[in-house]
Amino acid sequence: MIDPLSVFLLLVAAATPILFAALGELVVERAGVLNLGVEGMMIAGALSGFAAAHATGNPFVGFLAAAVGGAAISLLFALLTQVLLANQVASGLALTLFGLGLAALFGKPLEGIKAPSMTAGPLGISWIVWLGLAMVPLIWWFLNRSRAGLILRGVGENHDAAHALGYPVHLVRGAAIAFGGAMAGVGGAFISIATVLQWTEGMTAGAGWIALAIVVFSNWTAVGVLAGAWLFGGVTVLQLRLQAAGIKVPVQLLSMAPYLATIIVLVLISARQKFSRRAGGAAPGSLGQNFHALR
């Protein structure tokens, strides 16, 4: 008999990297910026976090370093899209390719080292998992109840109007991008420090892209992101259970499950948004468009 609580906790833990990254990207997209570099920021966080945790022996210092590392690399994207007004899709791709390369380059000496052990929090799960769960209401509150969140949403819905009201569009977006980078970094570090317990090249394995899909699935809400991340965590846990149970399906086919599930979910939610009355669902009005003030 499988204990349902322990399975649920496994699911919550499996969802944590995606939850962090998707919550960060949610804030970025609500500010009107589409950052496709989540995968690159996650891997940067996975490496910088692991390196700092290894150097200090303290995993929590590692997570702090991961936030800094993710935010630092995201500033390259901010520089390109907010200062140099480059195409967001291309810049995000560049960030992912560059991040993967940079992490592979600097991660070489860390290969084969084990991560320092972490003290578990309540219910035997990591404090970082709890932090991720706490971020959901916090971000909900920030977006829907705080003045700063209102400004951020205004910038994302209509940057021309926000600019006319005197809000610094590029500054708000730059800050959102850095926050998204920090969150993605922590998410990536959860994979290296708390899940795999070592550094391997390309270890985020598409988690950043899944996070991007989950933001679409969430209809740009914090609670939706949590639901999407848990759905993904459920598929992952189920897939691992089936592998462990020795089911007569090749491992390679089972491990496709998270990616296929992401596609299916994306299709379902896009269809709902497409055929609902409000075209484009709840996507921010200025999403993916650069802002240039003529006056």
Partner: protein, 358 residues
Amino acid sequence: MIRLVPRTENSAAWQLATPLLAVLATMVAGGTLFAIMGHDPFAAIRTIFWDPIFGAASGYSRPQLLVKAAPLILIASGLAIGFRAGIWNIGAEGQYIIGGVTGAAVALAAYPAEGMWIFPAMVLAGALGGWAWGMVPALLRNWFGASEILVSLMLVYVAQKVAAWMAFGPMKNPEGFGFPGSRNLQQYPAAANPELVAGTGAHWGVVAAAVAVLATWFLMSRHIRGFHIRAAGLAPRAARFAGVRPQTLVAFCLGLSGALAGMAGLFEAAGPAGQITDKFGTGYGFTAIIVAFLGRLHPVGILLAGLLLALTYIGGELAQLTLQLPAATVQVFQGMLLFFLLGFDLLTRFRIARRITA
């Protein structure tokens, strides 16, 4: 203070100058990186950009230039067409892998038959496999409005698993002593994609890449479909009024780029790689995105950019051997190149002027 004034039309001069500037800036930034890592920056840059063509070991590395450039140019030619129309196929890596798998499947099914039909059938199967893999995001976008960016990318991971499954399962070489991976197609004359002219590195993929450059140039500048694609990219609303159907373009662009990537995969599987393994995809599909942008989405530009990026691959390998630089150096270089290109592109679209204070 300075301010940016949008140009009414992109500057043609800067459009040519920014890729060159980006390459120079990458050399400078890359050199700085090497210096930080404790290598001689000048030696490293020379090893990567000069020695493969003119250095002591160039006899070996020069033919490699075409071997590496062919898949990049073939894939990028297709991608650029979609990018022109604002259709973002970033899953070429997956279409490349599937093309290699379906093409190799024909060869393995025919083994050990001999015949002139086998290789053409493989090329066709590779193109069809890549086309089908590219049509998935196209149809999901057309029917349900799902983002082709995310779907095509997810399918890269699925394709990698397919290749791994094939290498360990259905396509495993029965005479392979238990090692994963298919039969080596280079040792199967009817299916092999050999060097056509000794010492040049040119295999059928190089021929296909040359044809692709010519064909995409014709399509984009002489054919009505190319005009529609360009119109849809510049002014989607106006294009729709002119009778351009966006759904047709999505299917055309993703299908075509998928087919070209699939062909590239097959040429690789039957030629330089020789077999399907779990590590069949080596990132050509992603590097081709950089090639397309660096080549300004223009066939001739893509030809030159493909050769340059191929050079970084070969130079990177050389630097690994002679200077013990890590393999990931090339990836960092390629990422930097795209960063600098996108950054300098500001000058193409904007004019820098002195701010007039009231």
